[in-house]
């Protein structure tokens, strides 16, 4: 597969994951505008922006402010994260960039995948944010999540499991690793101890029911954090994501992942081992935060290695032997 096309698939996957991640967070947060105290909501906005790695465009309502300011704040912040084309990481921007990548991939993309992606983009571009807000603040992000999952289904049904698909999925899981790590870092700040907030995180990560089955409804922050790091069965856990990356890299490597493995694959194995080691050690809160910080750095290195190995390699490295 052409390296540039592989790069486009990879980035397309990353942008989709980014859009979905933001939409999931917003869907959950906006669904509780009506039943959460002001300070919890304001705190939620700060965590949400920290998890997305962005500074908020306005300062979310401080504790003690009149509730009347709360909804306008939420409206502006949600608009900033969904439809603001000036915000490079807004959902519309992520979708636009994914579509730009997809446009370069028309020869490789099944027509139905392209039309589904394009329809979704046109829908989001043309939808009236204010009108949707009127129907319920989380209607639009929920709609985005639905559309992206529909697209994901079409991709799964239509694309053969070749390198195009592998690079797309690789992009999604590398992005997921980075975003989930940032999310866990933001959530694991010392001031964030309320079990209600941690339940929200488990919901966002589609892990609430699984957590309750494994432990109990009484959410323990440390336990929830460890669950989201090391449980291999939760699709948004770090463990699940890095295992998926490993599998995909095994498929991409000509040797099928056997020795000698290529640099990104070796790096992914190291990351998986790091999660394993961290989960076995009886780490305290500070250790886990250190682990997440190192893990975030390692995820960035994983990305660099993928790009250097498959996309931008030297002429000498690529010549047939």
């Amino acid at each position: 597969m052409l390296s540039r096309a592989a790069g486009d698939f990879y980035w397309m996957g990353r942008y989709f994951e980014r859009a979905e991640h933001t939409a999931r967070l917003l869907d959950r947060h906006l669904a509780h505008l009506v039943d959460r105290p002001v300070d919890v909501l304001a705190h939620g906005w700060r965590i949400l922006y920290a998890a997305l790695g962005q500074p908020p465009p306005i300062s979310p309502t401080e504790t003690g402010n009149a509730e009347a300011f709360l909804v306008p704040d939420a409206f502006a912040l949600a608009a900033h994260l969904i439809e603001d084309t000036e915000n490079h990481d807004s959902i519309i921007q992520s979708w636009t960039k994914a579509r730009e990548n997809a446009k370069q991939l028309r020869p490789w993309l099944p027509v139905r995948v392209w039309t589904c992606l394009n329809d979704g983009f046109l829908w989001l571009q043309n939808c009236n944010f204010t009108e949707y807000w009127g129907q319920g603040p989380n209607r639009l992000p929920a709609g985005v999540v639905d559309r992206l999952r529909h697209l994901s289904g079409v991709i799964k049904a239509r694309m053969s499991r070749d390198n195009a698909w592998r690079f797309f999925e690789l992009g999604r899981f590398v992005e997921r690793l980075q975003l989930q790590t940032a999310l866990l870092q933001a959530w694991s700040c010392p001031s964030n101890k309320k079990s209600q907030i941690w339940a929200g995180l488990l919901h966002v990560c589609a892990a609430y029911e699984a957590y309750c089955r494994t432990y109990s409804m009484m959410i323990q922050p440390e336990q929830a954090l460890a669950f989201l790091i090391a449980n291999p069965e939760i699709p948004y856990s770090l463990s699940f994501s890095i295992r998926s990356v490993q599998l995909l890299l095994s498929g991409i490597d000509p040797a099928g992942g056997r020795h000698p493995r290529r640099a990104p694959h070796r790096h992914a194995l190291r990351l998986a081992a790091a999660i394993e080691t961290n989960s076995q050690a009886s780490a305290d809160e500070a250790d886990t935060r250190d682990f997440l910080e190192d893990f975030a750095e390692d995820c960035r290195t994983l990305h660099d290695r993928i790009i250097a190995e498959y996309i931008h390699y030297s002429l000498e490295q690529g010549l047939p032997s």
């Binding site: 597969m1 052409l2 390296s3 540039r4 096309a5 592989a6 730009e100 446009k103 370069q104 991939l105 028309r106 020869p107 490789w108 993309l109 027509v111 392209w114 039309t115 394009n118 329809d119 046109l122 390198n163 690079f167 991409i252 000509p254 498959y310 996309i311 390699y313 002429l315 490295q317 690529g318 010549l319 047939p320």
Partner: protein
């Protein structure tokens, strides 16, 4: 489109008679409402100076268009609107676009598609087919000649200065061995029709575009009116990508399974959709210059499993950008060393560099002579009368008749840089006269043609608009293939003769049908 289909199936079996009876009542200059109510051809005006593709001069349907015309006539305006929206929506959803590069921004536009197909009979098409084969054969021989022996120049068939002074003439191609002497593998020729018949307006021998829109139009129309389409026994254009693949593959004789790449300037190219479409349909790689390297005279592309050799490049990049080592050194679109690999015979480039000299608008005037010279045959397709402003007589005539002529730059394309005399203001004509006098060799002029008109659905009603057609011809090692259809371009603005999509033009499907074999 169910509603129009319903309208169609409600037409009695003896369609010809019924249709004639419907339209037979109309004898005036207006083809009136043959059936009561809105829709149909109620707003369709006939003008005797333009040939109409669907109607005779007296307002009756031409035999080939009986069934189609009747179906449209019987449809209500709501049905037509639904049909129009359906085909347009398909273009929108599939992102069938072209890019317009403005001064400030790059915009992506959906190609306007018209829902009323144009119909030609196969006997009409066979005439075009033969003419195109003849023309391409002669032009390939001419290209070989000017880059080798130059007999046509020595014998005075074409002036030396016209060829050697042409900006598209590539000195680098002199004595270059072109595989199988096929310089032009893909050709798109613009053909217009007047009361006098079909004429060639121009040849496109460099990187002719539009074939993807032809195929997309066909797919959209097929989906929108499946029963009407089936009933017409239309010749199929969909084998085009397969034909393109086989004709290109046939040129690389050193391998059984050549690796073909479509070289695109990138996503900002106005025809990027087409490049991606063709690569996808052929199963070829869509590459940019930066994806390829030349090493030891071989061309490789960068894949995730290392460098892989490329055998055939279907390039959609102009000559001067192909190779910064040989041509423009500031080109970022090409591949350094590509021309060297080409000269060594290690890669096929289609179309060959330097073919643009044969589609120069000034050289166009000599094509009939070239056909006679190289093939000893009379041209099957006529040329439009052309005045070369590089000659004193041509310039004088052009300046004296500016308000009747269309003046074009010899290297221009896309409808830019031309003056349509009858539609130009006094100031535009004055300005153009100055340009003509200062650089006469850069211009040619032609009479303003009374291009034929075909019914189009514009602004909620069916109205006549001027059309042309661009058929595509493929030349491989052993055979020539002419797609049985073409990109039918429409000047959607009322009265306009400019059909280019960048100038307000659109496209419509072209049906080549066998009159005798149409199923009821």
């Amino acid at each position: 489109m169910d509603t129009l289909e319903t309208a169609t199936t409600s037409v009695p079996d003896k369609l010809n008679t019924t249709a004639h009876m419907s339209f037979d009542r109309v004898r005036s200059s207006v083809v009136g409402p043959a059936v009561a109510g809105e829709g149909g051809f109620a707003h369709y005006s006939m003008e005797s100076r333009f040939r109409d593709e669907m109607f005779h001069g007296d307002g009756t349907l031409r035999p080939a268009a009986q069934q189609l015309g009747t179906a449209f006539n019987n449809a209500t305006s709501e049905q037509l609107m639904q049909l129009h929206d359906g085909v347009r929506r398909q273009f929108l959803h599939e992102g069938i676009t072209f890019t317009v590069i403005g001064k400030k921004e790059v915009t992506e536009q959906i190609i306007p598609i018209d829902c009323v197909p144009r119909v030609l009979t196969d006997s009409e098409w066979d005439h075009i087919d033969q003419g195109l084969r003849q023309r391409l054969h002669a032009l390939n021989l001419f290209l070989k000649d000017i880059y080798h022996e130059g007999w046509s120049l020595r014998d005075g068939i074409v002036p030396h200065e016209l060829v050697l002074g042409c900006p598209q003439y590539r000195m680098e191609m002199l004595d270059t061995k072109v595989p199988h002497d096929i310089y032009v593998s893909v050709c798109g020729t613009d053909i217009v029709r007047t009361h006098d018949g079909f004429s060639v307006l121009e040849d496109n021998l460099r990187v002719p575009s539009g074939v993807s829109y032809m195929l997309a139009c066909r797919a959209a129309i097929k989906q929108a009116m499946p029963r009407l389409y089936r009933a017409h026994n239309v010749r199929e254009v969909l084998p085009y990508p397969g034909q393109l693949y086989s004709q290109l593959a046939s040129l690389a004789t050193w391998t059984q399974r050549p690796r073909i790449a479509v070289l695109t300037p990138g996503r900002y190219s106005s025809a990027y959709y087409e490049h991606a479409f063709l690569a996808g349909e052929m199963g070829a790689e869509l590459v940019e210059g930066r994806d390829m390297v030349v090493h030891d005279g071989l061309v490789y592309m960068r894949t995730v499993s290392g460098l892989k050799r490329v055998d055939v490049i279907y390039r959609r990049v102009n000559d001067e950008f192909l190779d910064p080592v040989t041509f423009r050194s500031d080109s970022l679109l090409g591949v350094p060393g590509l021309f060297h690999a080409y000269r060594m015979g290690n890669v096929i480039i289609a179309n060959a560099p330097g073919t643009g000299v044969a589609d120069d608008k000034a050289l166009y005037a000599y094509v009939p002579k070239l056909i006679r010279y190289f093939l000893s045959e009379e041209p099957i397709l006529s040329n439009v009368e052309t005045y070369l402003c590089r000659t004193t007589e041509g310039l004088t005539y052009t300046l004296e008749n500016l308000d009747r002529l269309v003046v074009k730059e010899v290297g221009g394309s896309g409808g830019y840089g031309m003056l349509v005399g009858p539609h130009a203001s006094a100031k535009e004509k004055r300005d153009f006269s100055k340009r003509l006098r200062s650089d006469p060799a850069n211009f040619i002029s032609q009479p303003t043609l009374a291009l034929s008109r075909a019914p189009c659905f514009v602004g909620g009603k069916i109205v006549p608009r001027h059309v042309d057609v661009r058929p595509f011809v493929l030349r491989g090692r052993k055979e020539t293939w002419v797609a049985p259809g073409g990109l039918c371009r429409v000047a959607l603005r009322q009265g306009s003769l400019v059909v280019n999509s960048s100038q307000g033009g659109g496209c419509k499907d072209l049906w080549i049908i066998n009159e005798n074999e149409r199923s009821a």
